[in-house]
Every structure is written in structure tokens, then in C-alpha cells.
């Protein structure tokens, strides 16, 4: 087999000659060589069917010829294409190998290795599909489905190549490559979307905008802790130095996207057995640390309390920056925190333990925990960061809608957000129209803009009335009833009145102004009379009296209009 392999190496591989030493001189070339080895093996198998002992390769002969042709075409395209496409191939293989690594770490390898030989044929087809899809479309589902087969295929090839490496060791060899998983994750993200780096950047910007309005690197790096929880990637992170990327941030961001996509659904099915740690980290996401947004932003960025301390330095810097920016916020922290903590939660001892360790690792000195809203996922609910943020937001909105219900008359019977909003809109519109109308009325009533004070004073100076005290009291008490704080209103008015600057003499004509109006309204007012306080002076003189006078006149109208005030304490006798 090895002879055949090297014979077929006459097809010039798009890489330096194959070498499978444990130390790879250049990872890129190694993977390229591996991929080419894969292709070559496939073609070799296709060509050497007569040599194969397995009988069921024959039925696949016809298929494999077709695929073989395609293989040749792909191989030639591999050879002829410039390094970019080679990097494409290697990217695909990276992703494949990363997934294999994930599989291998659990022990699937042990199951697959004995069956490597018979499965090779079917895996050729799988390989074909994968490779064809590499060039035709961005990787979506096919690679995922074929990964188990691919994994076994690669492992089978390795064993067939007589490396005498256990599968675990081979996987370990893969994983020992510095930055291997990182690149794989990077390109897996690329594959899951497209090979357009811009798209991923835009997506990241979305996340940034969703989460907060801080700078991009901040939130991008802030997503990193989630990634580090994956065990297969943990080791890689420390070996980031070996990677040569133009934009380190982008790769880290993409890795975070990988983690997020893992959380979603797509790739997670590839690691069913495992990453047990990944699953635990997912559960630990139920207790998240959310940075408090600025007062008006709705979304909160979720930083799962993962091993952020193990991340590289830029991440720590970003944490610090994040701490400082969140420190500058913090309006509704305590209240929201109490609110969130009061919710039901998934009890999980392991989570607590992990969270404690993570908390110890995670907190840089200037980061006070009070800036984070500790949110717990409720039982049976999604622990996704986005859904948690959504839930917090929804609860805030519903709480405020309830307040609005008390405020807007006639809203108590209405249920549902749309109808409530309808009522609110109608009410606001009606209030605004009333303002317009009243301003027009005032403009028409007064030819000059010096409205009330002078005219009222001049009008009523000539009227005198000795029944000053009595009419006022009902007005005041009715006004107090109107204002609604009955037991405390009178003291309040007293305190207001004590600030009055008006002299006694000027009070009298104003009081007389009240009288003619009061007399007409005494009957309805009297029923509100409770206490009869003495008001020797008025604060801010005429303004107060005018207000009271006006209120006295409008009592009956306004009772009907306003059944409640904001605090909801008032009951008006009608």
C-alpha cells in the first residue's frame, strides 16, 4: 500500500513531499500533504480495485469511476490552482480534522478503527461528496454528515500508511499542532457561512451592536470566554503564538462564532459524546454574567463565567476595558439583580462549583460584580445568552406596560400588547390635541399674552367680599381631594403657603376673584369638604389661587376624566 502510495505520488502534490513526522515543519504544508494524501489514496483505491480483496468495492466501481474522474479533476484543480485554493482545501481539511479531533477525543476512534478498511469504499463516496461540495458551495450540511465517515477514512488511511500510531496518538498529533484547532474553528466558521471574511465581520458587528454600543474589539473579545470552555480548543489557546494570522482578533472572533454556532445546533451534533466540558459550560451559561447596559440599551451581552483568565493577554485587556465601561454605567443594577436572582433556576451543583472557580479566574481587580446582572435561566427554558437577554427585556417591557395600564384610563380591561399600545396611542393623541385646543382657546380669550395675573387682579379689585375664608376652604379641600393625598395634602399646602410672598392686602382682591366662581360651585364642592384649614396667605400668591380656582371650577369635569393618578391611590367620590 505504501508503495502504491508513493507510486501515485507521481501526481505532483501541491505541497512539499509528504512527511508525517510528529513535528510538522509547517502546518499548512502538512495538512495540504495530508489532504493530497487523502486524494491520492482515494484515486489509488479507485485505480487498484482489482487488487482489493473486498468484494463490495466492486459494486461501487462504477460509482467510483465517476467519482474518480471528479477526483482527478479536483486533484488537478488542486494542483493547478494557486495557493488560495490550496488554502481552501486545507481549510476544509482543517475543519474536517478539527471535527475528527473532537470525535477522536472521546473514543469513537476505537470503534471506527477496526472497521476502517471495509468502510473505506463508502467513505470514498463520502469523501467525494465532501470534496465536491468544497468547491461548489460553502460548507453547510454535507461535511457534518460525512464527518464520521471522514474521520474513519482519515484514520484508516493513517493506519494503512503503516504509521503504527494509535488513533489516539494521531489525533493527539493533530491536536498538538499549535493553532490547529484554532484555524479549524476559524475555517469551520468560514465554512458555515461563506468564505467571505466580510460576512463574518458583519455578523460580528451585529453581535456587537446587539450587545452594547462599545467598541468592536471589546465585545468581540468578550465572547471569547465561551470558546475557551471547549476542551479541544483549550490547549490551542495557549499556543496561539504559533499562528500567523493577519488579524488575530478576527480569528478569535470566529472562534467565538464557532462556539455560538455550536451552541445553536449545527456542529454540536458532531460532538455528541463529547465534549462533556462543553456541555457543562453550556449549563453553566445558565448562570451568566451580563454586563449592565447603558441606561437605555436593551440588550445585554452575556459573558458566561468561563475560564477567561486562561485566555491570552488581549482578552484580559478587553476584560479590563469592559469592566471600566460597565462601571461607568450601573443604574438599575441592584434592583434588577434582586429581581433576577429571585427567579427560579436550574439547580446544578457542578455549575456552582465551576462558576466559583470561573469567578475567581474571571475577576480582574477593578471589576465589581454589581455591574453585572446575574440572571438565572428558569427551569425548562433555554439557556442561550440571547434568549436570556430577550427574556429580561420582555419582562421589563411587560412591567412597564402594567404601569401604563394604571395610567391610561380604560386600559384595565384590555389585554395584549397591541391593544394596549392602541389605547396608549389614542390617549397620547387626545392629550396632545387637547393641548392644542386649549392653547388656541387661550389665545382667543386673551387678546394680549399677559394672561391671568394682571387681568384677574384688575377685574376683581373692585369686588369685595367678606366671605373669604369659607369658600376657600372647600376649594382647598376639594383641591386636596383632587390631588388625592388627603391626609397629607393640607400640611403640604400649608408648607407651600408658608412660602408665600404676597402680602395680606393683595390677597384680598384675589380672594374676591375666587368668590363669584365659588358661589356657583359650592354645592358640588361641599361634598368634598372634610377639614377646614386656615389659609392666611398663599404661596406664590395669585398663581396658587388661580390654580385652585380653576380646579374648583373644573372639579366635576376632571373627576370624570381622571379616575386615577399614577400612584393609583386615589378614589374620588363621585
Amino acid at each position: 500500500m505504501e508503495n502504491q502510495f508513493f507510486l501515485n505520488a507521481g501526481i505532483p502534490p501541491p505541497a512539499p513531499p509528504l512527511h508525517f513526522g510528529p513535528s510538522f515543519s509547517s502546518p499548512m504544508s502538512a495538512w495540504q500533504s495530508l489532504s493530497s494524501a487523502m486524494e491520492i489514496q482515494a484515486t489509488e483505491l479507485n485505480c487498484s480495485l482489482d487488487q482489493s480483496q473486498d468484494c463490495f468495492l466492486n459494486p461501487n466501481w462504477e460509482k467510483s469511476t465517476d467519482y474518480g474522474l471528479q477526483f482527478d479533476s479536483t486533484l488537478s484543480s488542486m494542483e493547478s490552482s494557486p495557493a488560495a485554493s490550496n488554502s481552501n482545501i486545507s481549510k476544509e481539511s482543517f475543519m474536517i480534522r478539527e471535527l475528527i479531533g473532537g470525535l477522536g477525543s472521546t473514543g469513537n476512534s476505537d470503534e471506527i478503527s477496526p472497521h476502517s478498511q471495509p468502510l473505506l469504499a463508502s467513505h470514498i463516496n463520502g469523501n467525494n461528496n465532501t470534496n465536491i461540495s468544497c468547491y461548489s458551495t460553502p460548507l453547510n450540511s454535507p461535511p457534518k454528515l460525512n464527518v464520521p465517515m471522514m474521520g474513519s477514512l482519515v484514520k484508516g488511511k493513517l493506519t494503512s500508511l503503516g504509521k503504527s500510531m494509535g488513533l489516539n496518538s494521531s489525533v493527539a498529533e493533530f491536536s498538538a499542532d499549535p493553532g490547529f484547532a484554532e484555524r479549524a474553528a476559524t475555517f469551520s466558521c468560514f465554512g458555515s457561512r461563506s468564505f467571505n471574511g466580510r460576512t463574518s465581520q458583519i455578523g460580528l458587528n451585529n453581535n456587537n451592536e446587539i450587545s452594547s454600543y462599545r467598541s468592536n474589539p471589546l465585545t468581540a473579545n468578550a465572547k471569547l470566554p465561551r470558546v475557551s470552555s471547549s476542551p479541544s480548543l483549550k490547549a490551542m489557546v495557549s499556543q496561539v503564538g504559533g499562528v500567523q494570522w493577519t488579524n488575530k482578533n478576527s480569528t478569535l472572533q470566529d472562534r467565538s462564532d464557532l462556539a455560538s454556532s455550536q451552541e445553536e445546533s449545527t456542529i454540536s451534533e458532531q460532538n455528541p459524546n463529547g465534549d462533556p466540558d462543553l456541555k457543562a459550560s453550556k449549563d453553566s451559561n445558565s448562570r451568566k454574567r451580563k454586563a449592565v447596559p447603558k441606561a437605555k440599551t436593551k440588550e445585554t451581552s452575556a459573558f458566561p463565567s468561563a475560564n477567561a483568565a486562561k485566555m491570552s493577554e488581549p482578552n484580559d485587556e478587553s476584560n479590563e476595558k469592559r469592566c471600566k465601561s460597565t462601571e461607568s454605567n450601573g443604574n438599575e443594577n441592584s434592583s434588577v439583580k434582586a429581581e433576577e436572582d429571585a427567579k427560579g433556576s436550574k439547580g446544578n451543583a457542578g455549575d456552582d462549583k465551576q462558576n466559583k472557580t470561573n469567578n475567581n479566574n474571571n475577576t480582574k481587580p477593578p471589576e465589581p460584580p454589581k455591574d453585572y446582572i446575574h440572571v438565572r435561566a428558569r427551569r425548562g427554558q433555554a439557556t442561550d445568552s440571547h434568549s436570556l437577554a430577550e427574556r429580561v427585556r420582555r419582562e421589563k417591557i411587560s412591567e412597564r406596560m402594567k404601569l401604563l395600564q394604571n395610567l391610561v384610563p380604560g386600559c384595565n380591561k384590555v389585554t395584549g400588547k397591541a391593544l394596549m399600545l392602541d389605547e396608549i396611542i389614542n390617549y397620547v393623541q387626545s392629550l396632545q390635541r387637547q393641548v392644542e385646543f386649549l392653547s388656541m382657546k387661550l389665545a382667543s380669550v386673551n387678546t394680549r399674552l399677559d394672561i391671568n395675573v394682571d387681568s384677574l387682579m384688575s377685574k376683581d379689585i373692585f369686588q369685595s367680599n367678606n366671605t373669604l375664608p369659607h369658600p376657600i376652604f372647600p376649594v382647598d379641600s376639594s383641591a386636596s381631594a383632587f390631588f388625592g393625598h388627603q391626609p397629607e395634602q393640607n400640611p403640604a399646602l400649608h408648607s407651600n403657603i408658608s412660602n408665600g410672598t404676597m402680602t395680606q392686602c393683595s390677597v384680598d382682591p384675589l380672594d374676591t376673584a375666587i368668590c363669584p366662581n365659588l358661589n356657583t360651585h359650592l354645592p358640588p364642592i361641599n361634598q368634598f369638604t372634610e377639614t377646614v384649614p386656615q389659609y392666611p396667605t398663599f404661596s406664590e400668591g395669585d398663581l396658587q389661587t388661580i390654580v385652585q380656582m380653576g380646579f374648583g371650577q373644573n372639579q366635576s369635569q376632571e373627576m370624570a376624566l381622571q379616575s386615577d393618578n399614577f400612584q393609583g391611590q386615589i378614589k374620588y367620590p363621585t
Binding site: E209, V428, L431, L442, I451, I546, G550, Q562, N565
Partner: protein
């Protein structure tokens, strides 16, 4: 929350001050001008009673001071602290609003990209219809509240709460004043 009586008193005081300043600047206004001055001074007085704590008040003052004619009026009404209020509020509000607008545009663009890929054909799903209804109404509400288009939903409802209270107080005072003036004029 402050008791509404205090709110009303404060509003009335500021409003009358503003009206007096209006009348001092310009004599012989026609009815429409008077009405406009009355309304403007009432709005500004109401907004200034909030002292820049709410978004709608800031937006209202900012809008009022954009117009050259009204700017003097606004400044007079607000008094000595007008410079601080207007400048600070406008700048901060503009910054925040621009940031929000930009971020929302980016968000919408990206969501549009994602939506074209998924293309979910849900025609008659109740939840989607409900969401659409709510969204329509939210847009209407945003157009009603001053400065509303720059807010997200949570803040919008909070601002609506405050705005409704202020509007109610304003209407009460204006109505009482109008009726008092009527009474005085008729009698």
C-alpha cells in the same frame, strides 16, 4: 414620583413666566401667533420641569431651539440655565441618537441579510401577525413622543409613562387657566 400638584405649580409658574417674556418681546400678535407662543411656552415649561432627566424633554427642548425664531423664546423661558440645558442636551442627545441610529441601521442591514437567506414563508402565523401589529403601533407611538424614534422599546414605554403624566398636568393647568380667563372675561 412627585405629587402632581407640585408638578402643576411648577409648570404654571414657568409657563406664565415664559408668556410674559413672549409678550414683552412682541406686541400685537395675531391669534395664531399667540396660540403658537402659548403652546410653545407651555411645552418648554413642561419639559424644563423635568430638568433634563427624561429623553422626551430633552428632545422637545432641542426641537424647539432648532428653529431660529423660537430659540430666543426658549432661551428666555428657560432662563439662566438655558445655555447649559440646550447645549448639553442637544449635543448629548444628538450623539446618542446618532449612535443609536447608526447601530440600528447596521442591525437592520444585517438582519436583512439573514432574512434573505432563511426566507421563512410564514403567511398566516398568528404570532407573526401579532408581532407585526405591535411593531406598527410602536412606530406610531415613536412618532408621537418627542424624540421617540431614537429609543428602543423599553425606553419608549418608560418615556411614554412620563410624557403622559406631564401632558396630563399640562392639560389640567391649561384648562383651568382657560376657564378662569373665560370667567374673568365674561364677568
Amino acid at each position: 414620583m412627585r405629587p402632581p400638584s407640585l408638578l402643576k405649580q411648577e409648570f404654571l409658574k414657568k409657563w406664565i413666566m415664559g408668556l410674559q417674556r413672549c409678550s414683552s418681546t412682541k406686541k400685537n400678535m395675531n391669534i395664531l401667533e399667540r396660540k403658537k407662543a402659548i403652546k410653545l411656552s407651555a411645552d418648554v415649561a413642561m419639559a424644563s420641569s423635568r430638568n433634563g432627566t427624561t429623553c422626551w424633554s430633552r428632545a422637545l427642548i432641542a426641537n424647539a431651539s432648532k428653529d431660529g425664531n423660537d430659540k430666543h423664546l426658549v432661551e428666555q423661558i428657560l432662563g439662566p440655565e438655558s445655555e447649559r440645558l440646550i447645549v448639553k442636551k442637544v449635543s448629548i442627545g444628538a450623539l446618542v441618537c446618532n449612535k443609536r441610529i447608526r447601530s440600528k441601521k447596521i442591525l437592520k442591514r444585517s438582519c436583512g441579510i439573514r432574512r434573505t437567506r432563511k426566507c421563512v414563508p410564514q403567511v398566516a402565523l398568528a404570532s407573526s401577525i401579532a408581532k407585526w401589529l405591535v411593531r406598527k403601533r410602536t412606530q406610531v407611538l415613536k412618532s408621537l413622543i418627542p424624540g421617540g424614534e431614537f429609543m428602543n422599546e423599553v425606553c419608549l414605554i418608560k418615556e411614554t409613562l412620563d410624557y403622559i403624566i406631564s401632558l396630563r398636568a399640562q392639560v389640567d393647568v391649561m384648562r383651568s387657566l382657560a376657564s378662569a380667563s373665560e370667567q374673568v372675561n365674561h364677568s
